[in-house]
């Protein structure tokens, strides 16, 4: 029987779907010495919990309400330097792999990868080694070989111009929140929220909310 130990591997699981968190917990806790120390439903919650609990590994779904997994990953790296991050997404995408690597994340799997991949990924990260599946590695190598593909959609270059706060606001607007709700949610004035919104529209060269939603979808800030 596995001995309860203070040195057990502590894992934070963040996904907005109950069923996915439960599945991840069940796979992870079947490993001797591994413990899910907390579950988060949103990116914001994941950052708060990581700061408080300093887990060894944080598993972050890419599409979560309030704050997406990538922005949460960046904040967790600041808040808890010992935490290694594994990003989970629904599907493989060139754009996403570039974003994951750019964010300094060293582990990435998709939800259809097997439980075995999940366990291997967490084990590698717990030893501070990176983990990418062969398919993800191939996509990464293709991007290196053909740098033109990196800017083919134009999304990446535009996205780099947005600040993390602006990306957060894009996500909230794309989820259907108006300026007043965005302001309330982020604890800023309505005027500041509207200024941000104006800057975002100008930077992305979009004029309508539906164009903004398309941008958010293309860049995986929200799910289709």
């Amino acid at each position: 029987m596995a001995e309860a130990s203070v040195s057990a591997l502590q894992i934070l699981v963040a996904d907005d779907h109950d069923v996915m968190r439960r599945g991840l917990r069940s796979v992870l806790e079947a490993q001797p010495g591994w413990a899910v120390c907390a579950e988060a439903h949103t990116g914001t919650e994941a950052v708060e919990m990581a700061q408080k609990l300093q887990p060894n590994v944080a598993i972050l779904d890419i599409s979560m309400p309030e704050m997406n997994g990538l922005d949460a990953a960046k904040q967790i790296q600041q808040a808890s330097s010992k935490t290694e991050i594994l990003v989970l997404s629904m599907h493989y995408s060139d754009q996403l792999i570039r974003d994951v690597v750019d964010a300094g994340v060293r582990g990435y799997i998709v939800k259809s990868d097997s439980d075995r991949d999940l366990v291997i990924a967490v084990r590698a990260l717990a030893s501070h080694k990176p983990f990418f599946t062969p398919h993800a590695t191939e996509l990464m190598l293709n991007t290196v070989r053909d740098p033109r593909s990196a800017s083919a959609e134009g999304g990446s270059s535009m996205r780099e111009r947005l600040t993390p706060r602006e990306r957060e606001i894009v996500q909230l607007i794309a989820q259907g929140r108006n300026s007043k709700e965005v302001a309330g949610f982020l604890g800023i004035s309505v005027k500041t929220a509207e200024t941000h919104r104006g800057n975002i529209m100008r930077k992305l060269q979009v004029h309508t909310v539906s164009e903004l939603v398309r941008y958010a979808l293309r860049n995986k800030l929200i799910e289709a």
């Binding site: 779907h17 109950d18 439960r22 939800k111 999940l118």
Partner: protein, 163 residues
């Protein structure tokens, strides 16, 4: 938990006197719960989803709630053949699966009904999915973003009508 129909073993709550009204009530409630638990175990559920973690999550939630999981499928075609083979009481079908999605599989399963009830488990609820599931005649639909308790309540209502 073992259920003995002759003498259900019920632990009295601390502070309850043996034979008191409260103990009898507690005993009756626990007895009914045990009977429901035993009934639940007699129902067989098949899970179809292409994501292993989702299947694990569903299995764990269903077993935790007292249901029996008789099998798993990773796409719509496998779901159809396992429904034929295992004749479960309920099949839970994910909408987006390779080869054949949950709606296609539901249509096929319900073409020759054999008593298996069909529950569509979807990532997003849209008017189109609602209309399509209604047209196919699926028995229930649940959204993945809702709490698992909602899915479990739907299954309770579908199989034993307790909600």
């Amino acid at each position: 938990m073992q259920f003995n129909s002759d003498s259900p073993k019920v632990a009295a709550k601390p502070g309850t006197e043996p034979g008191s009204t409260q103990e009898i009530k507690t005993s009756r409630n626990s007895f009914q719960e045990s009977r429901t638990d035993a009934r639940k175990k007699s129902f067989r559920i098949l899970i179809a989803d292409d994501h292993e973690a989702v299947r694990r999550g569903l299995r764990s939630a269903l077993l935790g709630a007292g249901w029996q999981v008789c099998g798993e499928a990773t796409d719509g075609r496998e779901a159809i053949s396992k429904v034929e083979e295992l004749k479960p009481d309920l099949v839970i079908l994910d909408v987006s699966m390779p080869n054949l999605g949950g709606l296609g599989a539901a249509r096929e399963i319900l073409r020759n009904p054999n008593g298996t009830k069909v529950l569509i488990f979807t990532m997003h609820e849209s008017r189109q999915i609602r209309e399509e599931t209604a047209a196919i005649g699926v028995h229930a639909m649940a959204v993945k973003s809702a709490p698992l308790s909602t899915l479990l309540a739907t299954i309770d209502s579908l199989l034993i009508g307790t909600h």
